[in-house]
Symmetry: C2
Subunit: 193 residues, 2 copies
DNA sequence: CGCCGAGTTGAACTGAATCAAGAAACGTGG
DNA sequence: CCACGTTTCTTGATTCAGTTCAACTCGGCG
């Protein structure tokens, strides 16, 4: 059932005991979302971390009625408004399925129980938080130091999946520009080669 | 000696044992840096996390000979190229003292020993990583969704210390703009009131 | 067949980058 | 404590990339 997730855990924390893993499995629920469906809503406390078994998901927030896209997540990545999850404050971000998506969801209470019952599990929490941190670090560097055009080029190289499976107007938002600007950037790039 | 740091730990993980704290203290070294001095260099593996007792520090990286500033850190905050520290890869970021600075430094090996000797300490590691993550989340939102002018206004409100103690050309870099542009933004803001 | 959303293209506008020059602040040594 | 040189900050002119608004194309789908 949770094979892909187990594999992921094996890599992350190979020393984790079978007991802990078994207990962890029990905390998970399987969810299915249709394309366009909301997985987690802005404004209320987010209680889940999702491991994506299948599909694509986007994390965004609404400012002046405009969706700003923070990230896309694909199969075998985990996602969630980690900020709200950690701080127990209403979420600043919403999560939505871009394709039909299947996730394994971990509830906040389940995780806390894991920390309590298996102190060794704190290590997993640390590694996950560190991983999230590293991911954000890259994104930050990209937003601070690169021009939109470079950002797009690098995105295509680093995550070709995004360019292939995500509509352009969402990618534009992710890059921090308008769809029109992205269309022109693409045109420029094509004529480069 | 490490009173301010102890206070910080009390807040972060009140349940941490006296034993663990004593052991932790032994891992720390005190360092003094002159204004402009390099604390941690780009290109080599970063082995320390610094808790700043006094002074200001900046984290930057060099791209095409230009310093891009990722963040400033003040008294009673900790800093370090956390990415390099975690991944054990050469640092993408350098750290430099903006004022004369005193830090308490924790070496990588010391931290690993803490994790090994006091598994409860993993929790501290997790909370620190989560805190770093949250900080970056805000920075990300600012870079993605705000215009430079708004970023500056918000910075002045959120961290007045920066505007007061950090030279403008460094702030400009932090905001992702040129010193000239910041100078004009400031002019516009003054005439607003 | 006609509609609708995504993507493209054009024209006018805007805010920041760049280049260049001058003014102000800073610190260093005499 | 002052004078000098360097660094930081400001101002101006020009250029450029992205925004905005509007019109149009294309493809899928009722």
């Amino acid at each position: 059932m949770f094979d892909s997730l187990k594999l992921y855990f094996r890599k992350l924390a190979p020393e984790l005991s079978q007991d802990a893993w078994n207990a962890f499995q029990k905390c998970l629920t399987v969810k299915r979302y249709k394309k366009g469906e909301t997985i987690s809503e802005e404004g209320r406390v987010n209680n889940i971390v999702c491991f994506i078994e299948e599909g694509i998901v986007m994390v965004y927030n609404l400012i002046d009625g405009k969706k700003n896209i923070y990230n896309f997540f694909f199969e075998h990545e985990y996602t969630g408004d980690y900020e709200s999850f950690l701080t127990r404050k209403p979420a600043n971000y919403g999560i939505e399925a871009i394709e039909d998506t299947i996730t394994f969801n971990l509830h906040y209470d389940g995780l806390q129980k894991m920390y309590a019952d298996f102190p060794e599990f704190e290590r997993v929490g640390r590694l996950v938080a560190e991983g999230q941190f590293l991911r954000l670090t890259e994104r930050n560097a990209s937003l601070l130091a690169e021009k939109p055009e470079d950002r797009y080029e690098n995105l295509v190289v680093a995550k070709p999946q995004v360019a292939q499976r995500v509509p352009q107007y969402l990618i534009a938002s992710y890059l921090g520009i308008t769809p029109e600007a992205l269309s022109r950037i693409r045109k420029r790039l094509v004529s480069k080669f």
